[in-house]
């Protein structure tokens, strides 16, 4: 089944028939976590880097922010039986405008917080496609654990 991950949303699956997908990431970041041993996988779509902009909302919907969202995503992976040492993390999104003067930094900040948080959790980023002015669609295929990025009609494995 195709399971759509909306903006500020996360889906987790153990079903090989599932495909997790999130559309038009913009400056948001999409992170796929996959444990090839237990075949547990998840995809998150976070809008903003830090929950301090709205703590109340972060309580209601942690997935909106990278700091609270990614922590929750990891926790749910562990709760289902995934092991930290097996987890493969891939990151896409964090795009920016044609903005040489770097006036709008949300995309870049989103990616920075992802990197910091995964580093703190001892998880390496296996692959990434971030930055530039691309609007990306990300899929996690639960049968193979493959993450793909689709951009301008072309889907490539990450």
């Amino acid at each position: 089944m195709i399971k759509t991950v909306d903006i500020s949303d996360m889906k987790i699956s153990e079903d090989e028939k599932d495909i997790l997908v999130t559309y038009s990431l913009g400056s948001c970041v999409g992170i796929t976590l996959y444990d090839p041993v237990t075949k547990i996988g998840s995809l998150i779509h976070c809008m903003l880097p830090l929950s301090r902009v709205d703590r109340e909302k972060a309580k209601k919907n942690p997935f909106m922010f990278v700091d609270t969202g990614l922590s929750q995503q990891l926790q749910e992976m562990y709760n289902r039986g995934a092991r930290k040492k097996n987890i493969i993390a891939k990151v896409a999104g964090g795009a920016k405008l044609l903005d040489k003067k770097n006036l709008f930094r949300i995309g870049e900040r989103n990616y920075t917080v992802v990197r910091k948080l995964l580093w703190k959790n001892d998880i390496l980023i296996k692959a990434q496609d971030v930055g530039e002015s691309k609007s990306r669609t990300v899929r996690l295929y639960m049968d193979t654990g493959i993450t793909t990025v689709r951009y301008r009609g072309e889907e490539v494995e990450l």
Partner: protein
């Protein structure tokens, strides 16, 4: 590929906005408005009537008692908001079409438009700037030129996209190079033909080149940034993605910071669904 002149002359044939709207607008522009007459004019159009009543009773306005007639709606809501409603009711079915040529499915451009309108409202609140009532409507119409180019004139946007990506230039500049005109100017000419107020046309024309406007700078600035923040949030983004260039001068004039960007996007994401449901009509 069609030329600039061919595109402009084909705009004459787009009758997407009902003739009654033009009359209603003219009436709303008068100093003394005859509500009876205005109500009758709206009631001539059953779809518009249904939509005005639906919007008037929506949670967004939060009235205590149900509005049953157009006349009641006019008195309750006031002519400024009625103007927004009439325009929204008229353009929603047009903007909610699939955007051909640009490869954008049904609903996406409309979602983006609602996002820009709402982001303008949130941004002006955040900056404590009071903007005129037409700002919301102008922001809602910001990409009508894309519908005109893509869906009605059916230009092929592929070469435009290719140029924008390969040379990393803004999408509107690529449109100007290939077509001799961009969607902002196309939209402005179309809105002129529909007799919309000149302030709305001005915003439409300069929303990607805000430093070129000669009047109403503050509102043009707000809508320019609202459009950009909506793109960044990925609301209704198309193949043109983030291929636009924000004006540095606008950011300086408005005193924008990363904190303000994040606060606006946070509120935008929370409210978009409610406003989208309210404004989306059939």
């Amino acid at each position: 590929m069609k030329t600039r002149d061919e595109i402009i002359s084909s705009l004459d044939h787009i009758t997407a906005i009902p003739a009654s709207i033009t009359k209603i607008q003219r009436m709303l522009g008068q100093k003394e408005i005859d509500f009876q007459e205005l109500a009758r004019l709206i009631e001539y159009d059953p779809n518009l009537t249904a939509n005005v009543l639906r919007l008037s009773n929506s949670a967004y306005f939060g009235f205590k008692y149900e509005v049953n007639t157009v006349h009641q709606a006019l008195i309750r809501i006031g002519t400024n908001k009625i103007y927004d409603i009439v325009i929204a009711a008229a353009v929603s079915p047009v903007m909610n079409k699939p955007l051909k040529g640009y490869d954008l499915p049904k609903g996406k451009l409309w979602e983006h438009s609602v996002g820009v309108a709402l982001a303008s409202e949130i941004l002006s609140e955040e900056l404590d700037i009071s903007v005129p009532d037409y700002t919301f409507t102008a922001a809602l119409l910001v990409d009508i030129g894309k519908i005109a180019l893509g869906t009605f004139i059916e230009i092929d946007a592929k070469p435009i996209m290719r140029l924008a990506y390969e040379q990393q230039i803004p999408f509107d500049i690529a449109e100007r190079r290939i077509l001799g005109i961009d969607h902002a100017e196309v939209g402005a000419i179309l809105l002129e033909k529909w007799h919309l107020p000149k302030e709305i046309i001005n915003i439409e024309r300069w929303h990607h080149q805000p430093d070129r406007t000669e009047e109403d700078r503050m509102v043009v600035d707000i809508v320019h940034i609202a459009d950009i923040l909506t793109m960044i949030a990925g609301i209704g983004g198309g193949q043109d993605g983030l291929n636009y260039r924000p004006s540095k001068k606008v950011s300086e004039r408005l005193g924008l910071t990363t904190k303000i960007h994040e606060r606006v996007i946070n509120k935008l994401i929370s409210k978009i669904q409610q406003v989208y449901d309210m404004l989306t009509l059939n």
